[in-house]
Symmetry: C2
Subunit: 208 residues, 2 copies
């Protein structure tokens, strides 16, 4: 309806702006505590030598995630999400106003912890990646097909806990590929930095 | 705004209906995979001898949760949440139309996996309980104060994984009590049924 259309118009404006300055933008989604901030932090740590990176962190009441990503070496803009259950293109537009895009190559956007409505609200990023965790159980992929259809990369995180959770990570990967056959699936232990190289490759960021 | 007000009006209607038939209703919230279905199932298994129980399960594309709760011994109505990121009073009203409330004592409602917007959409239940998981990390309580303010019981689930996650469950409890001093906090391992007795007591369901 109207709000969705309005958001798409703003998302397009954001996209044009990113392209104007040759900045690659990635929207990072995933449920609460799945490991988005950890994974973003590891990607920043690994790539800051090669790219000038900024992140947009959206949180309700704290700046914890923004601080954690900043510590890894990125400029971070805190988006004030209020009580919204998803980031929207307008919040991203405001955050972009605080960045000098001409001095950046890569922008990583941490979306709000939700696997349902962010699908309806594109931000103007070039690609979307979803971070799920083995600790969410074996059904979490089959229960959330729509968000995967909108994404190019899926990170199955916290593989170190798969055994304790009795979750088969290869089954999760198969569930994901049944939904979207060309999805790139990466296994990770975000805390240990395992899988980050694979992720960087899956995001097409290892080239230069 | 308008939709919120409309929802509150319907929630009030649901509440009156529950009271008319002396049915106690509990809204169960928590992030994706935190353990809502597992915990509801354990409560059903424990109390079905003493109460006639129905559950309302809300899921996007599957009936997995409904089946799991049914197996424990409750009547289950599947609410078709579409792409909504929260249950609303209207969906609950439709579900109630499929139940014979005169033959029930307790209704457990599993809300959608989201800790933000369900706070804005009361369903007409008598109380709300939140299920969080140690696997979501140490900040998850301080990041979501609003949902706790609306709830009477917090379950800190998956305590078996607290050590692997390096999460201090007593700190989580303290974080919660700092937000809402009269909140009842229960530690649980839903899979093993640990903490379910404490939960039943915290929900005031152990009396009869
Ligand atoms: N065991 C284990 N813990 C992890 C892994 N990755 C992240 N964590 C931990 O999981 C918790 C949550 O990680 P975050 O990176 O904050 O997750 P998030 O998705 O950003 O969380 P929110 O922004 O609060 O929704 C933290 O305690 C992390 O240290 C992993 O691969 N294995
Ligand atoms: N290790 C461990 N696993 C648990 C515990 N409680 C539940 N689980 C597992 O966690 C996974 C998710 O549990 P669910 O009960 O489906 O969680 P949920 O909140 O209903 O998930 P959604 O409805 O999909 O959002 C399942 O694999 C459960 O078996 C626990 O205390 N410890
Ligand atoms: Mg985060
Ligand atoms: Mg469930
Ligand atoms: Zn939303
Ligand atoms: Zn919502």
């Amino acid at each position: 309806e109207d709000l969705l259309k309005q958001n798409r118009v703003l998302a397009e404006k954001n996209r044009i702006r990113f392209d104007q300055y040759h900045v690659h933008a990635i929207d990072v989604l995933g449920s609460i505590g799945s490991g988005k901030t950890t994974i973003i932090g590891q990607v920043v740590k690994e790539l800051k030598g090669r790219y000038r990176i900024a992140a947009i962190a959206g949180d309700l009441t704290t700046t914890i995630d923004a601080a954690r990503i900043q510590d890894k070496g990125a400029i971070v803009i805190q988006a004030n999400t209020g009580k919204e259950c998803h980031l929207d293109a307008n919040l991203v537009l405001k955050a972009l106003n605080e960045l000098n895009l001409e001095d950046l190559d890569l922008v990583l956007i941490e979306n709000v912890g939700n696997l349902i409505c962010p699908g309806e609200f594109p931000l103007g990023a070039h690609q979307r990646m979803v971070v799920v965790s083995t600790t969410e159980g074996p059904y979490m992929i089959v229960k959330h097909p729509y968000i995967l259809l909108e994404s190019s990369v899926l990170v199955i995180n916290k593989i170190d806990l798969a055994q304790a959770m009795e979750v088969d990570i290869h089954q999760l990967r198969e569930d994901a590929l049944n939904i979207k056959p060309d999805l790139k699936v990466v296994f990770a232990n975000g805390r240990r930095g395992e899988g980050i190289q694979d992720l960087i490759e899956a995001l097409n960021l290892s080239g230069e």
